[in-house]
Every structure is written in C-alpha cells, then in structure tokens.
C-alpha cells in the first residue's frame, strides 16, 4: 500500500461518522421532505399515498397560507433594509468618535446574543396597553396618543418586526465597523487632499468600499427575516400569529400545519415553497448587487 493510499484511508476514517451525520440529518431529510410533499402523509392517517401536486393546490388555495407568505415578505422587505440602514449609520458614527467605540459596540451587541424568547416577552410586556405598557405610558407622557401595537391588526407586524430589527442591529453594526476599519487611512487622506469634502468622501469612497459587506449583510438579514418564527410565536396571543393572522409568518404556518394539525405533507410543501422563496430572494439580491458593483 502506498503512503498516499494509507493517508486517504485515514482521511476517510476521520470523515466516516460525520458523513453519515450529514447524509442522515441534513441531505436525507431534505430529500425526504421533497418526496413527501407529493404525498398525503399525516400523523393521524394510517396509510400514505402519493397525490401528486395535491398539497400545493391545497396550500395555495388556503387564504391563511397566502397571507403568511405576504406577511413574510413584509417582514423581509421592510425589516432587512431597516437593519442595514440603521446599523450602517451607527457604524459610520462610531467610526467618527475617538474614544468609547468598544463600550458602545458592547451595548449594541447585547440584544443580539440574548435569547429571542426572553426579549420577545420583555417587549410584549412593554407593548401592553395603558396603563400597563411602559411604551404607551411614555407616549402619553409626551402628549402622543396610545397605540395598539401587538393588539392592533395594523400594527402588530411592524411591532414584531421592530423587535427583530432591534435584536439584529448589533450584529450588522459590528460587521460594518470592522469593514470601515479595514479601509486604509491613505485612501481617505488622498481623497481629502484631492479636495473631496465629507459628503463626497462618504458617497464616492467609503460606501462603495463597503458594498461587498452590505451585500453580505443584506443577504443574511433577508434570510433572517424570511425565516422569522420565534418572535412571532412568543409575541402573538397563544402563539397563533394573530391578531387575525396579521403577524403569522410562513415558518409559523409550517409549524402549525405540522404540529397542531399533523398535516405533515402539507407542511412539507409549504416549507419547500419557503425554501424556494429564500433561494429566489437571495439570488435576486446577488444579481442586483452584482450589477451595481461592476462600474
């Protein structure tokens, strides 16, 4: 046996168990889901038959599913850009100050590492109606009308989205700040000597140099908001995605189909739809930024 063969055998020995893991716990289940989405698999049914596209017909004629898809898109379309815009502004401000960067950053990252379940309940407490909710009391103290927040079908989605924006800001700010710090000082100094003012420097030098990071974060945050589940589960009454399904995300719909109604196959179909949406949105973002970067 040659040395190379011996090494290859060692390598495969090291890889054997993990490969079994990735096949049995990741790829296999994924394929299983794909196949089962064409069946009538349900935990309450004895036999499973194949019913073609039946599940897809069922879920797409379910107004609640369509609403959950719409809600999911709203979370992503408004939530992700909000995170990017605010965290970029904060990072630019942090880059300006000579001292205290680390302390501010520490404060901003705290929500990102704390359990979403815990912060969801804290916000739920703060969002309560007057005279119990502290946010409404603060609003009224400065002469503004009290808001419905989680109780209002028109505001509940935005209220949950705001919590996720709050939680994700620290992550993006940290990455933007790290990116800003990799921009060589010579570049901005050269631009200044050439007569560029602050605004020109920002729009013609700094922001273009941050474009790859912005792309990465937009994709990451887009995916994060499209998959929103824990916040909705914990911030809507009895984890139902209400009021009137106004906050129900696709992930919560999938969970309820599978683990409340036990319609596993319908849940499988819905999860494949969500997967395709995530992939499509990611591809569109990559394409959009690709064009922008080729100037």
């Amino acid at each position: 046996m040659t040395l190379a063969t011996k090494r290859a055998i060692t390598a495969y020995t090291f890889l054997a168990l993990p490969l079994v893991f990735f096949i049995c716990v990741r790829l296999g289940p994924m394929l299983y889901m794909l196949v089962m989405s064409f069946s009538d698999w349900g935990l309450l049914r004895k036999q499973t038959r194949f019913i073609g596209l039946g599940n897809y017909v069922t879920i797409f004629s379910d107004p609640v599913f369509l609403q959950s898809l719409g809600n999911t898109m709203r979370y992503a379309i408004f939530g992700a850009p909000a995170v990017i815009a605010i965290s970029l502004s904060i990072a630019l401000l942090l880059d300006l100050i000579p001292k205290g960067k680390a302390l501010f950053r520490l404060i901003y990252v705290l929500p990102y590492i704390t359990p979403i379940v815990a912060v969801s309940w804290v916000w739920r407490w703060m969002y309560l109606q007057p005279p119990l909710g502290v946010i409404n009391e603060l609003l009224m103290a400065i002469g503004l009308p009290a808001q419905g927040f989680l109780n209002s079908p028109d505001q509940a989605l935005q209220s949950i989205m705001a919590v996720n924006v709050w939680a994700e800001l620290g992550y993006c700010t940290t990455i933007f700040l790290a990116g800003l710090q990799t921009i060589p000082k010579e570049i901005s100094e050269a631009a200044r000597i050439d007569g560029a003012n602050g605004r020109l420097l920002l729009f013609k030098v700094t922001l273009p140099l941050l474009l790859p990071i912005t792309l990465f974060l937009t994709v990451m945050e887009g995916i994060q908001f499209l998959r929103i589940f824990t916040q909705v589960y914990n911030m809507s009454f009895q984890a139902m995605g209400g009021p009137l399904n106004s906050t129900k995300s696709a992930a919560l719909y999938i969970y309820q189909k599978a683990f409340t109604n036990f319609e596993m196959a319908q849940a499988a179909s819905a999860s494949l739809v969500l997967f395709v949406i995530i992939m499509t949105v990611t591809a569109i973002q990559l394409k959009f930024f690709d064009k922008k970067m080729n100037y």
Binding site: P18, F22, R26, M30, I90, T114
Partner: protein
C-alpha cells in the same frame, strides 16, 4: 497628536450614540426593574421600585413548584454536550478537509457547505418523524442530535487549519506519532483561538435555540430554558413580575458569557462577516 477642542460633529455623534444606547438598553433595564417588583407594584410604572424584593427570584429559582432549575439544567446539558461534539468533529473535519489529499475531497466539502442553505424550518418535520420512530422524543439525545456537527464550523475550522504549516505535521509524522495523535496533540493546540470562537458561538446558539427543542420535547421536565420560559409565560397570565424574572434568569448565563468573552465574540462576528 492634536489636542484641539472636539469638533461639533464628534459631539453630535456622541449624543446620537448615547441616545441610541438608551433604546438598546432600556428593555433590559425595564426587565430587571420589573423582576424586582412584587405583584402589588408590578403595574406601577416606576423605573426604581419602591420596595425592591428578590422574592420573584426565590420563587423562580428555589420554589418547589418552579421547573426553572430543571430547565436551566437541561439547557446547560444540551448546550455543553453539543458544543463539545461540535468542537471535536468540526475541527477533525476541518483538519481532514484541508490537510489530507484524497479522491472526492472537494465534493465532500461542497456537500457539507451546501447543507448550510437548508433552513431548519424545513428539516424539523423529518427530524420529528425520525425521533418519533426511534423513540428519541423527550430525550436529551433527541434535542441534541441535529446539532452535533455544524457545517458552518467545518467551514470556519478548515479556514484556520489551512494556516498551519505542513512541516509541523510532517515533523510529527517523522517522530512516528499516529495520525489521530498528531491531530490531538499537534494540530488542536495551534487552533485554540478558533476553537474558542466556535465554542462561544455554538454555546450561545444552542442555549437560545427554540424551534427544534420546542418540537423535540413535549414533557415539561425535558424543556430547555427558552421553551420552558415560553410555556411558563404563556400560562402566567398577568404575573408579569414572574415572567420578567424568568426572562432575566434565562438571559443571565449568556450575559455572563458575553461579558467574559466580549473580545472573542466581537471578533467572531466581524470574522463571519468579513470572510463571508
């Protein structure tokens, strides 16, 4: 260095950043304040309670009827075991995929990394079917098995392993050490910073995980802390002083980890972003 007066822009930046800090911190402050109030004070919206009390913590942590200690233990077991497993397998995988030459290497790497794109929401249904038929529901293994190896960690460790000089490994081989011993005694000590980053992020991720532990455990004694907190809070009605205390208890270990390892955490976040 110029010691001139700070520019008005800098002062404005400090002002905005400080105001923003209040927004970021207020929910935590309000949670702590509420957790120090009793049932009669909880609805008086005062930042500083008139008569702060630790009774809520006594109730959550030490009362007979409270399941929080058990949930705390469950979360600790799950987070520690998965983290140890991830550290071992991910570094072994990262090492093998960067330092060995064998047929199929790139395909295997692509296969592993491609699993990163599969969202958990999709996998929990087959995982549940699997756990049901193998009788893993309501067991620690059932909660832990999907997280025993992390594809992201493999990616991260492979990057780090590539920085280890081949000469070091070859020298150890000349010494006659076995391949696995080389990995344990020569390679692992060289990548401890990467291991630390991976350990911290994995611990945080598993401590906070919600969707799968929610499905994998139906009996309260097998809940992890987030699942237990969600369940407890859903049933607590208007006992907001208990809910806020539960939330504070669920956060405490993470805030401790965060304060102890803030440098590694910030560096880790920056690294995932810049290398992505």
């Amino acid at each position: 260095m110029n010691m001139k007066k700070p520019k008005p822009g800098t002062i404005a930046a400090y002002l905005v950043l400080s105001l923003f800090s209040i927004v970021m911190l207020f929910p935590f402050v309000w949670m702590l304040s509420s957790s120090l109030k009793d049932a009669t004070q909880i609805f008086k919206l005062k930042l500083f309670p008139d008569a702060p009390t630790l009774d809520n913590y006594r109730y959550i942590l030490f009362s007979e009827s409270s399941k929080f200690p058990r949930w705390f233990l469950n979360s600790a077991i799950v987070a520690v075991c998965t983290t140890v497993s991830v550290l071992f397998f991910d570094s072994l995988l990262g090492y093998t995929l960067s330092k060995y030459r064998f047929p199929g290497k790139n395909i295997i790497f692509m296969l592993i990394v491609s699993t990163l794109m599969i969202p958990t929401e999709m996998l929990v249904i087959p995982w549940y079917a699997m756990a049901r038929s193998l009788k893993w529901v309501n067991t620690y293994w059932g909660i832990m098995f999907p997280g025993m190896i992390s594809a992201f960690g493999v990616f991260l460790m492979r990057q780090f392993m590539q920085t280890i000089p081949d000469d070091l490994i070859d020298a150890a081989r000349v010494d006659g050490r076995g391949e696995f011993m080389i990995f344990l005694t020569v390679v692992l000590p060289l990548v401890t910073p990467a291991l630390a980053t991976l350990a911290i992020f994995n611990f945080i991720g598993n401590w906070n995980a919600f969707l799968w532990p929610l499905i994998a455990a139906s009996k309260p004694r097998m809940f992890t802390l987030p699942v237990g907190l969600a369940n407890f809070s859903g049933e607590a009605g208007s006992d907001w002083h208990y809910i806020m205390t539960g939330a504070a208890v669920a956060m405490a270990p993470l805030v401790a980890v965060f304060l102890l390892f803030q440098k590694q955490i910030v560096r880790g976040i920056a690294m995932t972003g810049l290398k992505g």
